[in-house]
Amino acid sequence: MEWRDHGILLSLRRHGEAAAIIDVFTESHGRHAGVVPGGASRKQAPVLQPGAQLDLIWRARLEDHIGTYRAEPLRSRAAAALSGRLALAGLNAVTALLSFALAEREVHGALYRRSEQLLDLLGQDEIWPLAYLNWEMALLEELGFGLDLSQCAATGVNDELIYVSPRSGRAVSRHGAGDWADRMLPLPPCLRGDGPAPDAEIAEGLRTTGYFLQHRLAPALGHTPLPEARARFVDQFTRRI
């Protein structure tokens, strides 16, 4: 068995003295692990940092085997990430959520391309949080927990949509929420792709996507807690508001 693909390095573990087992999110083969002989060496250390864009050749005798990778660097994102707290927290959140949410060897081509675009923006702290929020929406959508924000779930109107129902994941208008308004999640305009997206709105959006990651996605994956890296990113981001 052999294939060649591009991928984003999600994590690395030492394997023995010199080798490493890497977990990579690839475009055509999904999240896929493999052994990199010499992957724990000093020469490979700068290449095999989480977030790195790699050109990969995977080989194994049988498809079920873990196989070995030959990894060549295409783009290193560690330098951009290490330069700032928010960027580093963001990189950790993305790689941790992908590791957490994606089943091994399940192809998610669209999400891969979104993830690649998002990571290429690392270091641009002014636009990155909004791009990250949109990526979380895409992650939920890709895994079957997408939010329907097109019209009010209660009245069918599509103006003054300011809430999201925590039960259905659908938008709810101010009028439609009625007495239930205090139980609703916020729907900032930026979540629908409207407006200039100030930081406070993005933070509200992250609260809403965080709810669905925590209460819909995580239970579907066996009630494992969300990776702490996401909470750290949100914490870093809200500090700047």
Partner: protein, 197 residues
């Protein structure tokens, strides 16, 4: 091929050391046996002694032969500077340079969600205690320039913000390094940290 069980046992143990495999362990053991008086016996004595006395310093996490290591007990090193490192090997590397005259704090690892290493698994609470009790004025975050190392550094910086001066090691071109052989991340870090010449 050796036929003695004790020798085979020694080879097996040596083969578990970093940098050694079964063949190199066999060569090392054979060398030790040939140099019995010069190497084998003194090595065995030294190992026995270290096994009996080596322990982690209760204060900083360094390895020494007492409850508190020589660096922590030395008054000369109470400069108010505290260098935070990931591992004892990093502390020894810093000491080799002979430049740093303050004290150290060994975390014992880095934060890692993958390996379930949280702040409480490291010596971060003890670090926070030391800031006050040892009148620390500057904390130097000498953690590895990896994603995990810098994530840990930022976490510690968040915990200590406003209490003490925080600095970190510079990143850039190593001594003897040729630009052509450097990875692009190091080059961009070096360029960002450029200084007046």
């Amino acid at each position: 091929m050796s036929s003695n069980r004790e020798i085979e046992n020694l080879i097996e143990l040596m083969a578990k050391l970093p940098g050694l495999g079964p063949r190199s362990a066999r060569r090392a053991v054979l060398h030790l046996i040939r140099k019995r008086a010069l190497l084998l016996t003194p090595l065995a004595d030294a190992m026995q002694e270290v096994a009996a006395t080596a322990r982690e310093c209760l204060n900083c996490g360094n390895v020494g032969t007492g409850d508190v290591c020589d660096i922590c007990t030395s008054e000369k090193r109470a400069t108010g500077e505290l260098c935070v490192v990931e591992d004892v090997a990093d502390l020894w590397a810093m000491e080799r340079s002979g430049v740093f005259k303050g004290r150290y704090h060994v975390l014992g690892g880095t934060l890692s969600a993958l390996d379930a290493v949280g702040p409480d698994s490291l010596r971060i609470p003890r670090l926070i205690d030391r800031i006050a009790s040892e009148h620390i004025t500057e904390v130097i975050l000498a953690l590895n320039a990896t994603v995990e190392g810098q994530t840990t550094a930022h976490y510690i910086a968040d915990q200590l913000e406003g209490q003490v001066r925080l600095t970190s090691l510079a990143q850039g071109v190593p001594i003897g390094g040729e630009l052509d052989y450097l990875d692009d991340g190091t080059i961009s870090a070096a360029l960002r940290a450029r200084k007046e010449f």
